[in-house]
Amino acid sequence: MLSRIAESFFWIGRYVERAEATARLLAEHHQLLVEDRTVNEDVACAVLLDALSMPHVDVNTGTALVRALVGGPTEPATITGSVTAARENARAIRDALSGDVFEALNATHLALTRGTAFAASPGVALYRVLDRLLVVHGVIEWTMSRDEGYLFLALGRSLERIDMTARMLCVRHDQLWPQSGPVATLRAAGALSAFLRTRNPLQGNAVRAFLVVDGTFPRSMRVAAHDAEEAVRGLERAGSTDGGDLLREVGMLRSLLEYTVDPGPAEIDGLAEHAQVAIERASDVVSSGFFRQAGTIVWSH
């Protein structure tokens, strides 16, 4: 597979996941801001923006927070920016994609950039965006052959999922809103029903530990790391290999999460931080190993 095309697949996976996770997290965070005003709005805004590595100049109300994170097409950490970037990547490799995937991404991009996704209320708008992104996910799963392209996309998606879950854990809803925070964290991860069935106590640490080490929930960091490793092994079987660097990065993270039992609050903080560093490294390794191999002669002007 062409490096350029592989790279686009990888980033489509990352951006679609990022847009969805950001929209979910923002929707729940905004709901808490509205319902429970025990936390100062500017503090609540700063915490979320911090977790998402976004600047927080002049963002000190719920409305401004939504505006900042829905963002515009040129800001890759925002929802609109992520969707636009995914769509641009898809446009560049339309021939390698199923038509349905491009169409679903394109429709989402148009809805966001033309403002048709917007309603009178932020919560409603974010729901509409989420709906569209779920369609994108579904179409990817049902129309793409499990070839190298899909595996690169799945790899990007899993790495981004770990990163976003780690960032969500840094928001500490449970400390900001002791009563409704844990439920909001679970909702933001789409994990409320899954968690409640485990019969764990509905309190901050149990919720955060679940999102790190649960072995059956698809958005837990542990399961996502396992999925990432499977994608790398699949690529190796298909003949795309970098000599093992990427497998080592991803495998180390997976085994760390695999063998962590009952992490306490401080350990969860450590794991969340470690995971973000590991994902950044893994992403660099994918880049250097598959997309920009050394030794390529570059024409310089």
Binding site: W11, R91, R172, S193, L196, Q276
Partner: protein, 545 residues
């Protein structure tokens, strides 16, 4: 109980008393006056939104409720419970009274139930006539002598309140069997924050999200002796029941199984779940099925919803049924007039929340008094619920009144009469975003874990949507409102201040590290791509398909 004196409401030539408006103070001439202080911010927010936008929000609300499937079933059809966009506000001070009054009432009714299904002292002492209890359709001799593990029979209660012309809360009725509607309390809050966040501005509203946890704790506390980690199930009649949405909601939010009668069986006085791993014991059953259908061995033999042997297992102390079998005696409308006496008898306290004046039609004097004033009375069947069988005197025709008089004279045990109380009103958004006053009641929900009675701050406000209507039951076309209990800012440290949020040292993941520019940023490349002439392609563009 002594004979009741003249009812409190005597229509004057100026017409019936004006209802208490919860948002506006009354001006001397009867028009709405200034906004009450607690409603200031809300009134401003609603003004800011305006009627057109409010109508648009109503569409968003309907779409959201439809999508979530937040429904109740009426005549076999699923419908969303109509939710009004204007919340109802209760101040911290008003709520303190409601909270303590509801808890007091439940403590007295718990004692009453323990008494009549046990020693019967209240009957021996003549506080409540024995015949009144034994003639209640909800008094089950089969339940006599069953002692609940932690002494609790009313695990969940819904006490219906109204506010009279002075704004005082009165108890309209008690619901101690299967009080329904708490799921809408939680969903209404979420829906409002979702579609109309502006109204929350400037308020600190007490959250309601803790209810499923409190309920789960109460059910765990009610487990049979020696069971530390009980298996709990919610028993539903099935998907065709009006409140099925709520049954599923509570099971999901507690993380317990939602079961139907056919999923359970009893063997050796133990209740078992039929699972793919074979039978699994179940210890606490939060049932949403009426007593009559619960156990064909003791009650209706033709019931397809119940579990044969369930009551025997409860008597053997191997399973807890919540709420207990036979609670209906205590919420029988003929027992209702005696509740203030029960509070005095068991607790030696004065009732915090008074009853509505109620006439005992088995007393000839009171019956005569009621028959004289039938057009100013509400007549209710004692074992009815859901607003069925109500007769509102002022709305009935002569023929209907004559028929009602005949019916209550023939069977006075099964009817009560109350003077018409004018419920309070709240502004309600009707078609096109207009705000009009509509009558409301309030059903606070309380959970008893044997140690404490937790009263959910707020509860379900039901609103009679047709103009002038006094019937709020959802089965009769009533809607609901999100009910806000304001935080108590009067108390120092009314809520613990959240601990400072630890600022996790962030990885230096700048925006750039999370980004990737798929399209080459080199502007020259972009230009050159665009300059290539595509023969026969009129469109300019850089598509490389």
């Amino acid at each position: 109980m002594t004979a009741v004196t003249e009812p409190g409401i005597v229509p004057t030539p100026a017409g019936p008393p004006r209802p208490y408006d919860e948002m506006y103070q009354a001006a001397p001439d009867g028009t709405p006056g200034p906004v009450r202080p607690a409603h200031d911010a809300l009134a401003r927010a609603l003004d800011g939104i305006g009627p057109d936008d409010l109508a648009e929000r109503a569409n968003l609300r309907d779409a959201y409720l439809d999508r979530q499937g937040i429904t109740f079933t009426l005549s076999g059809r699923e419908r969303p419970l109509p939710l009004d966009l204007v919340p109802r506000i209760i101040t911290a001070e008003e709520w303190r009274r409601v909270e303590s009054g509801v808890a007091q009432r439940i403590r007295a009714l718990e004692a009453f139930l323990a008494d009549i299904y046990g020693p019967g002292e209240v009957l021996a002492d003549g506080i409540v006539p024995r015949r009144l209890v034994t003639s209640s359709t909800h008094f089950h001799r089969d339940a006599w002598g069953i002692a609940p593990p932690n002494g609790v029979r009313i695990h969940i209660a819904g006490i219906d309140l109204i506010r009279d012309e002075r704004g005082e809360f009165l108890v309209l009725e008690d619901n101690l069997r299967n009080p329904s509607g708490v799921s809408y309390v939680l969903e209404n809050r979420r829906t409002l924050a979702h579609v109309i966040p502006e109204v929350f501005g400037g308020h600190r509203v007490r959250p309601v999200d803790a209810y499923p946890e409190r309920l789960l704790e109460a059910l765990q506390a009610a487990a049979p002796a020696g069971i530390d980690d009980p298996t709990i199930a919610v028993l539903t009649p099935g998907v065709h029941n009006a409140a099925h949405y709520e049954h599923a909601f509570l099971a999901r939010r507690m993380g317990v199984e939602l079961v139907e009668g056919r999923d359970l069986f009893c063997r050796d006085d133990q209740v078992w779940l039929r699972t793919t791993n074979g039978p699994q014991p179940v210890h606490v059953i939060y049932r949403r099925i009426d007593d009559e259908f619960l156990d064909p061995v003791h009650f209706r033999p033709d019931s397809l919803l119940g579990v044969p042997g369930l009551l025997n297992a409860a008597r053997a102390g191997r399973v807890t049924i919540a709420n207990a079998v036979g609670n209906g005696v205590a919420d029988d409308k003929a027992v209702y007039p005696y509740v203030p006496d029960l509070i005095a008898y068991y607790l030696d306290e004065a009732p915090i929340l008074p009853n509505v004046t109620t006439y005992n039609l088995q007393d000839p004097d009171q019956l005569a008094h009621v028959l004289d004033r039938l057009d100013r009375m509400v007549i209710k069947p004692t074992d009815g619920s859901g607003g069925y069988g109500l007769i509102i005197g002022s709305r009935a025709t002569e023929i209907e009144l004559a028929a009602a008089a005949k019916r209550i004279t023939a069977d006075p045990r099964n009817w009560i009469a109350q003077p018409i109380v004018t419920f309070s009103t709240c502004p309600t958004a009707v078609d096109g975003g207009r705000l009009v006053p509509r009558h409301v009641d309030l059903r606070p929900f309380a959970v008893n874990d044997g140690e404490h009675i937790f009263v959910l701050p707020g509860g379900l406000t039901r609103v009679a949507l047709p103009e002038g209507s006094l019937v709020v039951n959802s089965s009769q076309g009533g809607g609901s409102k999100d009910t806000w209990v304001l935080e108590d800012d009067a108390l120092p440290g009314g809520r613990p201040v959240p601990a400072p949020v630890p600022r996790v040292e962030r990885v230096s993941a700048s925006v750039v590290a999370r980004a990737h520019a798929p399209v080459p940023l080199d502007e020259r490349l972009r230009q050159q791509e665009g300059q290539q002439q595509q023969q026969g392609d009129p469109a300019e563009g850089s598509s490389r398909c």
